[in-house]
Amino acid sequence: MTHIERHTYDVVVIGAGGAGLRAAIEARLAGRKTAIISKSLFGKAHTVMAEGGAAAAMGNVNDKDNWMVHFRDTMRGGKFLNNFRMAELHAKEAPDRVWELETYGAIFDRTRDGKISQRNFGGHEYPRLAHVGDRTGLELIRTLQQKIVSLQQEDFEASGDYDSKIRVFAETTITELIVEDGVIAGAFGYVRESGEFVLFEAPAIVLATGGVGKSYKVTSNSWEYTGDGHALAMRAGGTLINMEFLQFHPTGMVWPPSVKGILVTESVRGDGGVLKNTEGKRFMFNYVPDVFRKMYAETEEEGDRWYTDQVNNRRPPELLPRDEVARAINSEVKAGRGTEAGGVYLDVSSRLPAEVIRKKLPSMYHQFKELADVDITRQPMEVGPTCHYVMGGIEVDADSAASAVSGLFAAGEVSGGMHGSNRLGGNSLSDLLVFGKRAGEHAAAYAGGLAKRPTVSKSTLDTAVETALAPLTRGDSGENPYTLHHELQQVMGNLVGIIRRKAELEESLTRLAELKERARKVGVGGGRRYNPGWHLALDLRNMLIVSECTAKAALERAESRGGHTREDFPKMDPTWRQVNLVCSVEAGTDEVTLTHKPVPTMRPELIGLFDPSELAKYMTDEELATPDASSAGEGGA
């Protein structure tokens, strides 16, 4: 008999990044006994890497900003594939969520009149990102972490036990969700430190596990980003949408190799940095797509004037949405105008005085100096696209963050729909606050409203134990997990990367099937106590199944849109805008199936926020004929 530690909770939140912590706070505030499961130590989540800020239309810097403008920008950025209701809730609620952080102790940078300062960012019409230098993600994590500690202090006052109502299980990984009779009954996993198994019996689970970047060779994501939540949800009977849309951040470091993939924040461009190829040419002016033509400067002179006078000038094309910039860099490199390491130059040194750079971009300066011995106040950076964010994720109800499985909720990067085919910078920190809160609130309500709790059966548990132990049982003679992981990263990076082709995607599916077969024989030596080889072996299963979703959906979608670019279908196709690709797995197998589902139709008063000529770029003639007819109909919600 394997020993299993058992805990009982009302709400279990899997993931301790921004979305998870915000959800846990809300569940605890609603009076539910809440557990937070963190794959790393408390406070180390990948959210700390977010640099730019949290987008919220507070209108502190430009009072013309409001939720409708933010909503419009978000839909435009996502190329109208977004779940409109999520984009709407997000735009409306983000300011409250940011203000709330100040009451938890966050200290944002200030405007002259003492309000939260807001900065410009790609795709946002007005200065909108609440920020703290370029370490906003760290501020957010630390603030939420400290809020949880303060709740624990309240509980200690009341009960003498810090952990009585909200407890953090650090360095704990969930390998299976337990579903009994179609509803969530708990979660099973292991504690890294001891290797011991642990079962959480809980009727409501919030997935907030972040993204999938570790399947890629060049990525800004940490080791935790192995698509755990995506895979757990699918195996529990949930569905994923939009998995073909991955954001490649345009400016990751490409040299030196030790820091390949690490992001150079967009604020470098927002504050005056420009992109140049090896011929010294500022090439972005050649890559402004028609839909954006009117909003961007046509000459370097106008672009340069914008930094000091934003009212009378249009912004420089370095601030186009991320996918456009990533594609442009990719084209320059392919045309032979890139550096040896496969990047282009991002130069801020010739544009701003050294002390201004150090003041405005402190961690960037620090990071380059210490990690790469590059002084950004003296020399240009060498940058290229790096896998950064997955727009796709668990299909959820916009208002409640509930998935297709009763008792299973999702928020943050692991959920899908909010960002459509492409996410605007700054929208992820606000996304995780808005939907983290909603997920926590609705999970708490669900758990509180149950007449009877589901129980975990022995057979389900035995299977979970067996699956988790299998790599150790096979031992050193099995397939090496590090080798398999390396090969998976090559396949995804080379064949399902930023520019995609039919033949390569087909090849990727063959290769993934082979890897999946080999992964069934993965084995590791050593024991259960803090054994990274074992941990990777278990994560591999998740990476493989999620990668398959991405490859299948990318092959299916015969158009280019946002974070999905097909060389053989270079244009956006309005009929594809109406389609979400939905992935699921057959119960008890790891076989991915793909189906089509219509994208929800925007309410008329939301459609009315857009200029008809803009809608014409995205919608079919048929769709364009209907909104006018119905716009006089139902009022707003």
Binding site: G114, S117, V132, E193, S222, P257, S258, L371, G526
Partner: protein
């Protein structure tokens, strides 16, 4: 893997010595490895290559690999560092690189230590106390007023400052009463927060966090990867204000009227029990005095040829130690005996 073929070029191979646990007791030994190193790599890259090619179960913590999360704290050639921010180019080609776990915390396995001490201390420090009657959205603060707190909020919680602090490094017994530099800056951050509504942060730093144990050797400031001026900007102001409040108005008046060497005499006369108070101020018998009996820093501070106090390891000892000289034994905490 093609590592063996590449091995032919001897220049790419380097000698590493890594602490490996031999069981679940915290015992272990330094193990030698010859491992490939490429241009532009950092120590953490090399540890990862060891995992992938020679030691799949080598335990190490890491997350962002960009100096932002503070997970990969370790001791490299005896010097506490982040593995992701220690470039291999800073070593000679022939230099042996010795990697050991943080010394101040119990080893879980290999390079991973039990840092729960820090999370315990975090809980003991009262959280931000929001101002009553200021609704969300109505917080107004000037940039110049928040910058002092913002410096401390840069902390990535790598716990290197806790690890080098000699109040608890090799002094397990002090951990109960001492929170360490990471939480002194947290206290200072809240103390300097324009809207925090508690006004007893300094008193708490002394009474409950044991700030009196600190004798300002600045080891924490030196090791901070975020370059937070822990000692100058947080600890000293917190200590001085504690002292000011405790001894006001006598200290203030005495300093105004008398020369420094006369102040003591006056104080002895006016406040015969002040030495007892000073001892209490220093955390009730901690191992290092914070302030002299005059309520000020010791005079040696002024005569020394460097900022901060003398090194607790002696002035003639330079860091990093020569690699040959490092025979690592992790300190034991629960009465366990190491294997050798």
């Amino acid at each position: 893997m093609d590592g063996n073929v590449a091995a032919a070029s001897a220049a790419g191979k380097r000698h590493f010595r890594v602490w490996r646990s031999s069981g679940d007791t915290g015992a272990g030994d330094l193990v030698d490895y010859q491992v490939e190193v490429n241009e532009g790599e950092v120590v953490l890259d090399v540890i990862h290559r060891l995992q992938a090619t020679q030691a799949p179960d080598l335990a190490v913590r890491w997350n962002c690999k960009a100096g932002k999360c503070g997970s990969c704290s370790m001791e490299i050639n005896g010097r506490p560092r982040l593995g992701c921010m220690t470039r291999m180019s800073t070593f000679d080609d022939t230099e042996t690189v010795t990697v050991t776990p943080l010394r101040t915390f119990p080893v879980i396995r290999d390079l991973v230590t039990d840092v729960s001490y820090n999370y315990t201390k975090a809980r003991e420090l009262p959280a931000f106390a929001p101002p009553p009657n200021v609704p969300p959205g109505e917080y107004r603060m000037q940039q110049v007023d928040v910058e002092r707190s913002q410096e401390f909020r840069k902390c990535i919680e790598c716990f290197l400052c806790q690890n080098v602090c000699h109040v608890i490094r090799d002094h397990e017994e002090n951990k109960v009463a001492f929170s360490g530099p990471r939480f002194f800056i947290r206290a200072a951050e809240l103390d300097m927060h324009p809207l925090d509504s508690r006004d007893d942060r300094k008193e708490m730093a002394q009474a409950e966090q044991g700030i009196g144990y600190c004798n300002i050797t600045k080891c924490c400031t030196e090791v901070c990867p975020e370059h937070i001026k822990i000692t100058d900007n947080a600890i000293i102001p917190m200590k001085e204000r504690v002292v000011d409040r405790r001894y006001d108005p006598i200290t203030w008046l005495g300093n105004k009227i008398f020369r420094r060497d006369q102040v003591d005499v006056v104080h002895r006369y006016l406040a015969p029990d002040r030495e007892a108070m000073a001892a209490e101020a220093n955390g009730g018998g901690g191992q290092a005095a914070a302030v002299g009996p005059d309520g000020r820093l010791p005079v040696t501070e002024l005569t020394l040829d460097r900022s901060g106090a003398a090194s607790p390891f002696g002035d003639d000892l330079e860091f990093p130690l020569p690699v040959q000289g490092i025979t690592y034994q992790h300190p034991t905490t629960d009465g366990e005996q190491p294997a050798h």
